[in-house]
């Protein structure tokens, strides 16, 4: 501080020089007598306070921090290219479960309806296959089977000519969509495929079939028979023949990955994974998807990275500051408003009014405000109160619970001021009571009031931030410094993403500290006994 006093002395010297110059300039015109009032430079009390305040370097630092915070919060939001709730995306390659492919190693049954050949009959059939004869009985129905090709069994109800079901290792799929082909058509295809024919007839039409099992109606492919079952996870995905063939090739070649280009020319990469428990291959598609750009590190685009929801952190910080400051000011305004009116009445009137108001103050002083706000916050959570209305309730509540201290202060001040001579003088002039209060009493309380208000701005901001941190104050989508830090509750964020919570904490600390420094400086500046 030594250099500060030196500097002060320096400025004082300069001031004296200037004054001397002025005096000598005026001295030429008319010489003032030594006790002339005009020789003394008079400053108004306000100017004195300002001068004393500006001399306090710590307080001025606080003021500068505050000014910066205000610009940051109120102008920053306008300057920032992003909105408070603007979401950002990035593309990320993710492996999505796409489908499964399985080689048939058990007999599959194809029937018009599953009930035509129930599972009990299927079991009986398997037993009968190993035994002699080609008939078996199940649930009172006698079935007969015929082997119509390698691994192709056709089942009839005994005495009927039309087959009820076909048992085979292959399955038939339509080439044009996911619809099921009619049973007789499937039967015809399977029969042709099993016997390695090149053509067959069905429903009066001639179809061609090749070695791979592709069924052609003239030039158009209609269906195919295959030993592999390929299924997509999503019902609405139609797997083309080409895709299935490539997939099967890849499986047979024991490849781990393959890529496929569809008709539209888009290439996708697939990963094959053998699952021993179901003896099938899982097919994963690694596709690039658009995801929220969450917790991205600081970059030139996002100076402080992005938060949990993929919103720009710096912009959130600016809007958060705005909310925190707004709430601070409104709460302190409410507190002061109630406090000054009740404290003023109490101090001025005295008697039973004073007694009554002071007991009310005692009661409010005793009510534990933090727990009450936590309870009400939890209730508002349960009732799903709109975040905006919630913010309003929060301000009213904080203001309504916090006025007792100010009322006490105002009352105490007024009690002592009331007894002073200037009030007797004011009374003697016969002016109205309201004018006496508002012109003569209240202005004398204002210095104390300003100091207390500045200090309580800081503590209100902390209270609000604490509540928001606990998730009971300002809620998403609104940002506040407290609810930005809220992410720390996730230990992973605490450990890995410092840029999420440290800047908000520093803003909070700097603002509250600045309010306290300024309040402290003001207290010193208002104190006329200060000998600096």
């Amino acid at each position: 501080m030594a250099d500060n006093t030196e500097k002060n002395q320096g400025t004082e010297e300069m001031l004296e020089n200037v004054l001397e110059k002025e005096a000598s300039a005026q001295g030429a015109a008319d010489e003032y007598s030594l006790n002339d009032d005009r020789r003394v430079k008079t400053l108004s009390p306000t100017a004195l306070v300002v001068k004393r305040f500006l001399r306090n370097r710590v307080a001025v630092t606080g003021l500068i921090i505050l000014a910066f915070m205000f610009v940051f919060s109120f102008v920053g939001g306008i300057v920032s290219p992003y909105r408070e709730d603007q979401l950002f995306y990035r593309t990320d390659s993710q492996n999505k479960q796409w489908g499964a492919i399985m080689e048939n190693k058990e007999l599959r049954y194809i029937a018009e309806q599953d009930s035509d050949f129930p599972s009990v009959a299927r079991a009986k059939f398997v037993l009968a296959l190993k035994g002699d004869g080609n008939t078996f009985e199940s649930q009172g129905v006698t079935y007969r089977y015929e082997e119509e090709g390698p691994d192709l069994y056709v089942l009839y109800v005994d005495g009927q000519d039309a087959p009820v079901a076909v048992a085979t290792y292959d399955n038939v799929s339509s080439s044009t969509g996911n619809e099921k082909l009619p049973f007789p058509f499937q039967y015809a295809i399977l029969k042709a495929a099993a016997n390695e024919k090149t053509s067959f007839e069905y429903d009066g039409k001639t179809y061609a079939i090749d070695e791979a099992g592709t069924v052609m109606d003239g030039t158009a492919e209609v269906a195919y028979a295959s030993r592999y079952t390929v299924q997509a996870i999503m019902k609405d995905v139609f797997l083309t023949r080409e895709f299935k063939e490539q997939l099967i090739e890849a499986v047979e070649a024991d490849q781990k990955e393959f890529s496929f280009t569809d008709e539209e020319g888009t290439t996708a990469d697939y990963i094959l994974k053998y699952d021993a428990s179901t003896s099938s291959w899982q097919v994963m598609q690694s596709a690039s998807t658009r995801v929220f750009d969450t917790y991205s590190a600081p970059s030139s685009k996002h100076w402080l990275g992005t938060d949990r929801n993929g919103m720009d952190m710096l912009t959130r910080l600016m809007y958060g500051g705005r909310v925190s400051l707004y709430i601070g000011f409104i709460v302190v305004f409410i507190e002061t408003f109630i406090g000054v009116i009740l404290g003023g009445i109490s101090g001025y009137c005295g008697g039973w009014v004073d007694n009554l108001i002071m007991r009310i103050v005692d009661v409010f002083y005793c009510i534990p405000s933090m727990p009450i706000i936590i309870i009400l916050g939890a209730t508002m959570d349960a009732m799903r109160v709109d975040p905006q209305i919630r913010m309003l309730y929060l301000m009213l509540l904080l203001g309504f619970l916090g006025w007792a201290g100010i009322a006490r202060l105002v009352r105490g001040q007024i009690l002592s001021l009331r007894e002073q001579e200037f009030m007797t003088a004011a009374e003697a002039t016969g002016i109205r009571a309201s004018r006496r209060i508002f012109r003569h009493l209240i202005p004398n309380v204002i210095p104390q009031l300003i100091v207390t208000m500045t200090m309580s701005l800081g503590s209100t901001i902390i209270t609000e931030a604490t509540l928001s941190f606990l998730g009971l104050g300002v809620k998403f989508p609104f940002a506040s410094w407290g609810n930005i830090i809220n992410d720390v509750n996730d230990t992973y964020v605490l450990t890995n993403y410092w840029f999420i919570w440290i800047p908000a904490g520093i803003c909070l600390l700097a603002t509250v500290l600045a309010f306290n420094l300024v309040g402290d400086g003001l207290r010193d500046a208002f104190d006329p006994k200060m000998n600096r």
Partner: protein
């Protein structure tokens, strides 16, 4: 003196009744979500009564079926006999849960109170004796910074540094993973280890205001006439400060510290919650968030009693410590 204490006590009781009434009204106005929740869960059990029947039974059990004034009167009647009902969240009597959790809070509070005093008061005295020097400004700014530090931010910083980076402490809780296998002394050390960070947080957060309070009062004393007299007598500066000035500074200090003694039982709501220490603060936070009316009601009234008691103690101490003060 006795008359004054009696008068103040009576006054406090009246204020307490009003505070309790306001809190009771507030509690009753809350949507009784927890009761409904319990009733719904119970009614969904096989072969159970209907939701409405459960609701009626539960409200009768918890005195929620009466009007606000009769309900309050019956609550008061039971509270005077020390019966605060059963906690909805903890499913034990409120007083039992309170007795379980208050001691850990008290230990935490007492230790941090001790550290607070031995750190803040000397620093405050030093700052005052070296007014407007670099030391004074440093101490003042540090005090204000501690005072302005949001608890949750500071606790998070400590956790990052000591729990994650250095791995000295656990992130939360009162006992470690291997608590049950430890010897008695090991158990004690384990608990102590878990209390270090909460106590550090509490001390740092509360140190600022005490430091400033000491400094302000010390400055006031140092400007008094009897100090000028002492200096004029030619007493050594040390004697002036520690014999004449500091003893007089003790008057407001003892008054204030005495007044904050009951607060040791109040628990640190935020700090305990942040470190998951199962003290009265964390327990009541959980109760309040889940809408446990009997426990919240008890906790709020308890807090009000502590505040009143604190005011009473500091007013009485004011007269006891300072022989110049006479109470009519």
């Amino acid at each position: 003196m006795r008359k004054y204490i009696l008068k103040r006590l009576l006054q406090s009781v009246v204020i307490l009744v009003f505070v309790a009434f306001i809190i009771y009204v507030l509690m009753r106005c809350l949507p009784t979500s927890y009761l409904e929740q319990v009733a719904r869960a119970k009614s969904q059990q096989p072969g159970s009564k209907s939701f409405e029947e459960w609701m009626a039974q539960l409200s009768a059990t918890y005195g929620m079926d009466k009007g606000i004034i009769p309900g309050f009167l019956s609550w008061c009647g039971r509270a005077i006999r020390g019966d605060f009902g059963d906690s909805w969240k903890w499913t034990v009597p409120v007083t039992q849960k309170f007795a379980e959790s208050v001691w850990i809070s008290f230990i935490m509070g007492a230790i941090s109170f001790f550290f607070e005093i031995i750190i803040a008061i000397p620093l405050g005295v030093i700052a005052a004796t070296k007014q407007y020097t670099k030391t004074d400004y440093t101490i003042t700014i540090v005090a204000l910074a501690c005072f302005s530090l949001p608890t949750f931010f500071f606790a998070s910083l400590l956790k990052l540094l000591f729990c994650v980076k250095l791995g000295w402490f656990d992130l939360g809780g009162l006992i470690g993973r291997h608590y049950e296998q430890l010897s008695t002394f090991g158990k004690f050390l384990d608990r102590a280890n878990h209390l270090v960070l909460p106590i550090v947080t509490l001390v740092v957060i509360s140190i600022g205001s005490l430091m400033r309070y000491t400094r302000t009062n010390m400055l006031e004393v140092l400007n008094a006439d009897y100090i000028r007299t002492a200096r004029a007598k030619g007493l050594p500066e040390n004697k002036v400060i520690y014999h004449h000035a500091f003893r007089n500074t003790l008057i407001p200090l003892v008054t204030m510290l005495g007044g904050s003694l009951p607060g040791l039982f109040a628990g640190a709501l935020i700090t305990e919650t942040l470190y998951s220490i199962p003290g009265i603060g964390f327990v009541s936070y959980q109760s309040m968030v889940t809408g446990d009316i009997p426990f919240s009601m008890f906790y709020l009234v308890f807090m009000a009693i502590l505040t009143l008691l604190g005011n009473l103690i500091s007013d009485i101490l004011y007269a006891v410590v300072d022989p110049r003060v006479r109470i009519a």
